[in-house]
Amino acid sequence: MAAIISDELANETAPPRPHRKRRSYPVWRWIILLLTAVYFLIPLYAALRFAGIASFDDVVHQTGFSDALILSLKLAVITTVITLALMVPTTIYVHLRLPRLRRLLESITILPIVIPPVVLIVGVLEVSPGYLKSTPYLLGLVYVILAMPFAYRSLDAGLRALEVRTLVDAASSLGARWPSTLRRVILPNLRTALLSATVLTVALVLGEFTMASLDLYQTFPVWIVAFDQTSGPVSTAASLLALFVTWLFLLLIVAVGGRRARRTGGAQVDLISVTRRDTVR
């Protein structure tokens, strides 16, 4: 094969010719996104206008507001505590020692989608003993079922990014007993996932309308709808407040999660894992 050395070419001065292909910047992309933005922002604006600034201040003073909000918060706490108490050990144990149960667990987390809240509450009210039905805290117990898939997904993602099995083996090879390993190695690294699971659960409970209204207890969303009869603007203001608070929570997870992930190299909790569904609608 002829071996042409290209040194002489290197010494030539070639005329500089910019070969920048014109990048066609499609306008359509901007049009679509702009139209979408309009469609989504107008209702927000309309609601703000309708409610009026005054309503935001009024909201807090209305009858039933604080009771409803406090009830919702209490339920949120109950649900979160139970959910985490159930899901954390379960997810960890399945991940570490019972991998065969994994598919079963994943199938179970699909169940709340298959058995929608409106149907579930019918069944729950059917079989619950009287003493439970007469307290709103029954809702707190049932909400755990709704929160369970989201908690599982957060924790599972966190565990998977962590390579838990390797860490546990390393810890035990260094002499750690199980409780220590759990406390010092696993849980600290799950902080983001735990935070995410908590926020999702709280947001879910605070927004849950279906079951609460059918169980005839006045949680915050139920109160909002009922109050509409009295004052539309106030209800609208309360809705907007609820929305903004939820958003703040969600952005909080993403922000904290992102920063942590950069430090510990763990999984990014993205908004995709953070969507709620069903019962709020």
Binding site: A37, V119, G207
Partner: protein
């Protein structure tokens, strides 16, 4: 809980779950402890999900007064106004899954083809996440303020000569509810379809170009077919989401719209005809079955998508 006497990978140790003969009482205890750790979860599921569901399934076939087996509930649930309810719900779910499906696809494509790291992308993705979490009560109020009889957009449209309410539109009936559903179904679709887009390897696009394919040909022969299982799966999810939705429609219409979910709710709080107390359970059973079938198809589609996008 360490396997004191054993080196790594001893039977029953953490790195060797459940394999090999158990020696000594410590490993056995570990096994018991593990089961004890997961048992509460399963018991809870059984209590709060399993039993209620069984009650519904059983009640659907029971005569409410005598407790005897009967098919009359099922019969009522599949005829007359309840059949109507199923049909309307299906119609609504199809519209609010296909339309958002296509819109979401388009928006997802716009985001996907935008320059990486551009502000546009990040804003769009964050916004989608945020709007997908709308729903229920707050959403209903937002739309009442926008397109209700005295809503802002209604006012604007009337000002330019087109009053929607005089042209067949009504926020408080099926069309209006569908419009509201779009508000959270579209972002949901965008969020679900984006990872599927991201799964399209750039090498495929470049290889196709290298082979002489233009943009249209690429999408037609490669991009489209590869995305199809994910897209269909998303449609199923959207359908299920719309089918079982209750809060938005209830908050908007106060139960005056013939949707299955609303009808089920009415059995708890509304006036129930004598002898029909268990029809609500039959309706519930029907809803569960429909969604279960959808989920089976969804799982199959996901498996196909996973195989190709590996």
């Amino acid at each position: 809980m360490t396997a004191k006497a054993a080196p790594a990978a001893a039977p029953g140790s953490v790195s060797d779950p459940g394999a090999g003969p158990r020696r000594g009482w410590r490993p056995a205890l570990r096994g018991a402890r593990t089961l004890a750790g997961v048992a509460p979860f399963f018991v809870y599921i059984l209590l709060f999900l399993g039993i209620p569901t069984a009650a519904i399934a059983a009640g659907a076939f029971q005569n409410p007064d005598t407790g005897q087996f009967t098919l009359s509930n099922i019969h009522t649930a599949t005829h007359g106004i309840y059949l109507h309810g199923f049909l309307i719900t299906t119609e609504l779910s199809v519209i609010t899954s296909v339309v958002p499906g296509l819109c979401g696809l388009l928006i997802g494509y716009a985001i996907y083809t935008a320059r990486r790291g551009a502000i546009l992308r990040r804003v769009a993705i964050t916004a989608s996440g945020v709007f997908a979490n709308f729903g229920g009560v707050p959403l209903a109020f937002l739309f009442i303020a926008t397109l209700g009889t005295t809503g802002l957009a209604t006012h604007w449209l009337t000002a330019i000569g087109f009053n929607p309410y005089e042209n067949g539109f009504n926020l408080y009936d099926l069309g209006g509810v569908a419009l509201v559903y779009l508000y959270f179904q579209i972002p949901l679709m965008v969020l679900i379809i984006l990872p599927a887009f991201e799964g399209l390897r750039p090498a495929w696009r470049e290889a196709a170009q290298n082979m002489g394919a233009g943009t249209w040909q690429y999408w037609r022969r490669i991009g489209g077919p590869v995305l199809m299982p994910s897209f269909l799966g998303c449609l199923l999810l959207l359908f299920g989401s719309a089918f079982s939705a209750y809060a938005t429609a209830e908050a908007l219409t106060s139960g005056t719209i013939p949707l299955t979910a609303i009808q089920i709710g009415s059995f708890l709080n509304g006036n129930v005809l004598a002898g029909q107390q268990n029809v609500g359970k039959a309706l519930g059973l029907g809803m569960v079955l429909i969604i279960a079938v959808l989920m089976v198809f969804y799982a199959l589609l996901q498996r196909r998508a996973a195989r190709w996008l590996r």
